[in-house]
Amino acid sequence: MITDPVQVDKVSGQTTTGHEWDGIRELNTPLPRWWLWIFYATIVFAFGYWIFYPSWPLASSFAPGVLGHTNRAAVLADVAFSNQVRKDMTADLQKASLQQIADSPKMLELALAQGRAAFGDNCAPCHGSGGQGQKGYPNLTAGRWLWGGTLDQIQATITHGIRAPNDADTHTSMMPAFGKDGILKADQIRQVANYVRTLDGLAPEQGVDVAAGKKVFADNCVACHGEDGKGNVDMGAANLTTKVWLYGNDINDLVYTITNARNSVMPAWGHRLDPETIKSLAVYVHSLGGGK
């Protein structure tokens, strides 16, 4: 490259880059040299990063870096740290009874926060994000409890589950499959289903003998559901007189339930969660509006 004397712009007194477009020349305003050094420093930094942090992909793994840093280990350390920080508070939860927790503003605040998180992680897939439930999965906000809605009853249900095969203290009682097992005939089932609907103030089907249904009810159902149909939380017998229906109040839903029985299950969370998390869950579920 031929280098001639640097061209100087007459107006500004500044050198030009020598590039010209239609008589307009570009002034040369070079970057300061230290700017270049910073660029070199970033290259040096990159080499340091390669050495200390995981960077290079290898055939079946990656170069771990001499610090052995992994994001997973960092998260675990963070979790361990926050558990350490919360240790005093969770120790209180461990010792206190459910009623003591509910009565102490500080413990209650912690239990509700912890309970909400645990509910989202473990319970929301079936019971809904706010405990609203869905068909076949109880609504926990409505005040209708199959196995009781006091703090202690909720704690027992969460701990031992419902018909959980791996827990000796689980809620076990079963409703017979009246149709499938041949206890009732199809027309009897339809009659009693219509009668059950009237318990909740719903209109029976035209031409169905509701009085016969009442008789079938008295002969087969009152042992668990009670003469007035209000159910029994000791054996998980549903209250049939409320507006809230776990499997729907459509006549076909009721006929299906009586014919086949539902007997749904819930895991025994005592095998998966620690006792104070279950306490927090009990307090949280109880707080959702339906607690007794």
Binding site: R33, T242, L288, G289
Partner: protein, 482 residues
Amino acid sequence: MSVGAEEVYDDGPLYEAAKKVYPQRIWGTYRRLKWIVLWIALGIYYILPFIRWNRGPYLPDQAVMADLAHSRFYFFFIQIWPQEVYYFTGLLILASLILFLSNALFGRVWCGYACPQTVWTDLYFWVERVIEGDRRARMKLDEQPWNADKILKRGAKHAVWLLIALATGGAAMLYFVDAPTLMRQFFTLQAPAVAYIWAGILTFTTYALAGHMREQVCLYMCPWPRIQAALTDNDALNVTYRFDRGEPRMSVKDAAKARVLNEPAGDCVDCVQCVAVCPTGIDIRKGPQLGCINCGLCIDACDTVMAKIKRPTRLIAYDNDENRERRQRGEANVFHLIRPRTIMYAALIALTAGIMLYVLTTRANSHLSVLHVRAPLFTQTAEGGIRNGYTLRFSNKLPEAADFTLEVAGVPGIAVTSVVAKSLPDGRLGVRLDADSTLEVPVYVTTAPDVNLKASSTPITFTAVDPKTGERNVVVDHFFGP
């Protein structure tokens, strides 16, 4: 472009080596003003964290503190919570308006006097001058080979610089925690690691920016010179070489001769003192330029020379081109400090400051926010009523506990319950908050069985009252039904 032999250019250097600036010592009006501003600025910086302000037993008694651990910002009587960070927007608007006003009056005086970059660089220059000597001595020291004298001077200078940097970085930490406590912990090595790390980072930046980067910060890093150029006008007073008076430059003798012969004679004797004292190393006689921070040290330098040669001072002065044209027409200088632009900026500053002061002094001591629970939107209860859930958050900004009463109205025949609040005999809820705290309160509103809601959505009003202060927080939400 046709390329002839003469038209083949060199591309010039890609990168420019920084030219070292050796500002010379100077006395004068503006130098004195700069010292005053410097000591006031440093004084505020170091004393402010130690000023106490009583806020009662539960809150820190430090007048100015950004309490990151508890998410509170304290400034004398002002206390700002994280969700009130918009107050800072007001402060930033106020700060920029003041900057604009100062710019409309005297150009970049912020750069020349009060900018931290200028204040600390000036301090570093002073240390350099005391240890290594003035401009010429420093230039000689740079050229001289390394010997005991050079090592001693250089070592002493960098040691003092680092001490100042450490004091700067360390003092910054005092704004985040209780200052006297941190001071004790810092020197007994019991302060948290994060305090040492940040003090170290700020020590490094102070040492690098004030000791080594200096004018490079103003020339290459700072956005303000670029913005300022677009904000200035013809009346702003910038440090100006009055070339109508200074040109043509000639020696004192030649000028005397020329004046006798009634020929044009300038006052500038080309002594280059204005360049020698300049902290950014520019020649002000080339006119207004990006490197000029408007500090006026060249005015002091030129005035000294003018006094010596018995010519009127202020050959360089805070002035503008309008006045130069007036002088060339034979008119007197006019300084338009009060003009529509400055009046408007002053009015905007007064307005912003007034609004800020009003909102800060009338800031509520409590707050209530209501969030309707979305899942479920409403619940049909076992008893036959309709239940809606709301998540309320109470804030008590007072330095003492507060007992709020919560009244819910708008839907007939409702029962209001909450596991966090106490039910009062009159159907309201009582909510107790600790000093300076917030509390989340889940509230459930349930209608009587089989109530007939007229619409699927009914307005519902939450009223929280602090009986002690009488403050009422009213939030309107909706009650949903089928």
